[in-house]
């Protein structure tokens, strides 16, 4: 099919979920089945279309088509909107639609007994629509619009259980933190790369702005899966990839200052997050931090020039992280909403399907080679980082990151699935099939992906970069394979050793090094830090403006009154010297004046109306006087 024609109708893909969400929103909250049917139907349609697009892009190389139209003309500059279709877009489309389809199906089971069921699906569809919009957007402006929509949707979803104060707070936090980033992005639409990266940092929870991501776990688990696996967090990475030329502008063999910044931010994020993840006890928080670290990984890969590698890892990560989140969701569902992994355990036998799928996800995440896509993409990233001319430190640090990842994932596995059932997992049960099928599908994807990703036949990577993939078995044995193999093995082994005979009592690490553990458990006190600095500052600002407000409003009333009183006091002084008693009148008069001016600010409509009339009169006279 003619690519340009195709590009012209690209908008349909985001439009479908949007329409679906609107329809669902207008439904009565009792029409649960209809709502789910419509939303999922929309997803299926979008998925089919995306696959069609993807397939049609397969043949050509350097496939690149876009469609622009002038939204409106302000003075002489036209505001252009448009859609862009290239391998990146196509892949992202398929990924987003597929993953969110799985999530939709999953949440049919997960949200089964929530009274705001329909609205939930409306929000989900809306979110997907916005995300797809980001993917297909051509101009930075449109991208920004969709970007903000994504932010809004995530706000709605995270705060879905708004009656939980923590949820509301988390929603606000996510919204504001990402806003801080988006501010940068918004400037970036006129300015340059680094500011764009601010936006990316916000959405992808990179180091200074990562705090919202773990808190976002207050949302329903499918939401966590959608936001933190597939879509929103990926948006940042996607953004950087999309605007990569801006970053790479004027590069000396692939190194520019901005890219360097990206790299270091990414590295810090990755390492810090994986450190923190070691000490968490909330199943979803662990996953969240792992997400953060993985995103850091992707950023690094982009920064060092391995764009394709980064994107590939993004896709892979999307699948297995969605899998993990849905798995955790299934676990939570099974444990009746319990999220503390210390209370679980022994679920291996109770919920076998969840266990196996989860295990696949875990191995993909921690990068066990050969059959799990995570491994290959991670290889690629590490490889790219290894060849970074600037310094080797990122590579080393990321190696540590990988080690830690393997470690904490194993820890989590042991906590949750092995050992004896503890308080929460005692009465656990396997989830309904409507929740299990998505898990299986995603697990399948994870495994299948490992084929198209393997360095032996780096099909996807070459598809993205636009050249043909060739089968080279030798590449299976790149240097990093062994390294990471060793690392992963080490990590898993360490965790296995440490937690081998763990009985749900105090965490061995904690016993070993309490201070450090506490430090990590408290997430390095970064939130507290912000609490002390940013928020405090904001509060002060608010207080200041409030104060100003009061004084601006009735400042001059007080002034009058004060003046009156002052005169009063003075004149009383005169009086007491027995000069003039009549001055009392003046003071009372002045006080009365102040009081009467104060009357202006009674909350009475008519008073205001009168003031308006007088003002209009004054304007009229002024006009007449000028003429």
């Amino acid at each position: 099919m003619n690519p340009w024609l195709l590009a012209q109708f690209l908008w349909i893909i985001p439009a479908i979920p949007l329409a679906a969400s609107l329809v669902v929103l207008s439904l009565k909250s009792s029409r649960r089945k209809t709502a789910a049917a419509i939303a999922i139907g929309g997803q299926v349609a979008a998925l089919i279309l995306s696959i069609a697009v993807f397939v049609s892009t397969l043949g050509a190389r350097e496939y690149r088509a876009f469609f622009n139209f002038t939204w409106f003309t302000a003075g002489y500059d036209h505001i252009q909107f448009g859609w862009l279709l290239d391998p990146l877009t196509a892949v992202m489309l398929v990924m987003v639609t597929l993953v969110s389809l799985c999530i939709f199906v999953f949440s049919v089971g997960y949200m089964a007994d929530d009274e705001k069921f329909t609205r939930f699906f409306a929000y989900l569809s809306f979110f997907t629509a916005a995300m797809l919009g980001v993917v297909v957007a051509n101009s930075l402006l449109l991208l920004f619009v969709c970007w903000e929509l994504v932010g809004l949707a995530s706000y709605l979803l995270i705060g879905f259980w708004i009656e939980k104060p923590s949820a509301a707070a988390a929603a606000k936090k996510a919204f504001i933190t990402t806003r801080i980033g988006d501010l940068g992005f918004f400037l970036a639409t006129t300015l340059a790369a680094l500011l764009i990266f601010c936006g990316a940092m916000g959405k992808s929870g990179q180091f200074p702005l990562h705090v919202w991501l773990p808190d976002a776990m207050e949302g329903p688990t499918p939401v966590s899966a959608l936001i933190h696996a597939a879509t929103m967090v990926a948006a940042g990475v996607f953004l950087v990839a999309r605007t990569y030329p801006l970053f790479a502008f004027g590069s000396v063999h692939g190194v520019t200052p901005s890219l360097t910044v990206v790299v270091w931010i990414g590295v810090i994020t990755a390492l810090m997050a994986s450190l923190v993840a070691v000490a968490q006890v909330d199943i979803k928080r662990i996953l969240a931090y792992s997400t953060v670290s993985q995103l850091g990984l992707m950023m690094v890969s982009l920064g060092v020039g391995g764009v394709a590698a980064g994107i590939v890892h993004l896709l892979a990560h999307a699948f297995f992280k969605a899998l993990l989140f849905l798995g955790s969701g299934s676990v939570i569902h099974g444990c009746h909403g319990e999220q503390d992994i210390r209370k679980m355990g022994g679920l291996r036998t109770i919920m076998p399907v969840t266990f196996f799928t989860y295990a696949i996800g875990m191995m993909a995440l921690s990068g066990v080679p050969l059959f799990f896509c995570g491994a290959w993409s991670k290889e690629a990233v590490l490889d790219a980082t290894h060849h970074w001319p600037v310094s080797n430190l990122p590579w080393v640090l990321m190696i540590m990151g990988v080690l830690l990842t393997a470690f904490y994932m194993t820890r989590q596995m042991i906590y949750v699935f092995f050992g004896q059932p503890r308080s929460a997992s005692a009465g656990a049960h396997e989830s309904p099939s409507v929740m299990l099928i998505p898990l299986i599908v995603l697990a399948g994807c994870t495994v299948i992906f490992s084929v198209v990703l393997s360095p032996a036949w780096p099909w996807l990577e070459s598809y993205l970069t636009g050249d043909h993939a060739t089968l080279r078995w030798g590449d299976l044995l790149t240097s990093t394979v062994f390294v990471s193999l060793i690392l992963v093995g080490a990590g898993i082994a360490a965790a296995a050793v440490i937690y081998r005979r763990f009985g749900g009592a105090i965490d061995p690490l904690q016993r070993a090094a309490p201070i450090v553990f506490r430090f990590l458990e408290e997430r390095m006190w970064i939130d507290e830090l912000y609490e002390r600095t940013v928020v405090r500052f904001a509060k002060i600002l608010a207080g200041l403006s409030d104060w100003l407000d009061r004084n601006v409003w009735d400042g001059f009333v007080r002034l009058f009154a004060a003046a009156g009183q002052l005169t009063g006091i003075l004149t009383r002084g005169f009086d007491e010297r027995g000069i003039n008693a009549g001055v009392d009148e003046a003071t009372t008069g002045a006080r009365g004046l102040g009081w009467s001016v104060g009357r202006l600010h009674s909350g009475k409509v008519q008073g205001y109306l009168g003031v308006v009339a007088i003002g209009a009169l004054a304007l009229l006279l002024l006009l007449a006087w000028l003429a």
């Binding site: 009168g610 009339a613 007088i614 209009a616 009169l617 006279l621 007449a624």
Partner: protein
């Protein structure tokens, strides 16, 4: 004759309006408002906009006044009590009136002898409404519907 008619109508209208604004009892005020509106309609007819005048009577006397009266009935308790009068408002209103007078008297355009446009036939209004003003017409239709529904919802009390 025109000017004489004008003076009569003006006095009629303004007296009605003044009564509407100052009478202590709400019900009397509402009814004298009707007088003012009738006077206004007479104004329109005098100005050759017969249709507008009739619409004025139709809408204001037939609909708005009845609405007001009904509201008075439904809020009976206070409708019968005397309403306080705030003289500050009178001063402001007087000031505004003075300002308007001053500006009108200083504008020479309004005092020139203009040749008046010929009277407005219903057909012309209809043509204008159906061609140049079709969108405003539709919008007003929508607005009225919305207002009606909104008013219903506001006063509806479910048993």
């Amino acid at each position: 004759m025109n000017t004489a008619a004008f003076v009569v109508i003006a006095i009629f209208t303004l007296l009605g309006a003044l009564a509407a604004a100052t009478l202590p009892r709400l019900i009397h005020a509402a009814l004298s408002l009707v007088v003012g509106f009738v006077g206004l309609a007479a104004f329109y007819i005098l100005l050759g906009a017969e249709f507008v005048g009739l619409v004025q009577i139709f809408v204001y006397v037939g609909a708005v006044a009845v609405l007001i009266v009904f509201t008075i009935l439904l809020t009976r308790r206070e409708a019968t009590e005397r309403d306080p009068f705030n003289w500050l408002g009178a001063i402001v209103a007087l000031a505004v009136f003075g300002g308007l007078l001053w500006t009108i008297s200083h504008s020479d355009f309004v005092w020139q002898a203009h040749v008046p446009n010929q009277d407005l036939t219903v057909r012309r209004i209809g043509d204008a409404l159906m061609t140049a003003y079709i969108w405003p017409l539709l919008c007003v239709g929508v607005l009225l519907t919305a207002a009606m529904i909104g008013a219903l919802i506001l006063v509806y009390e479910e048993k």
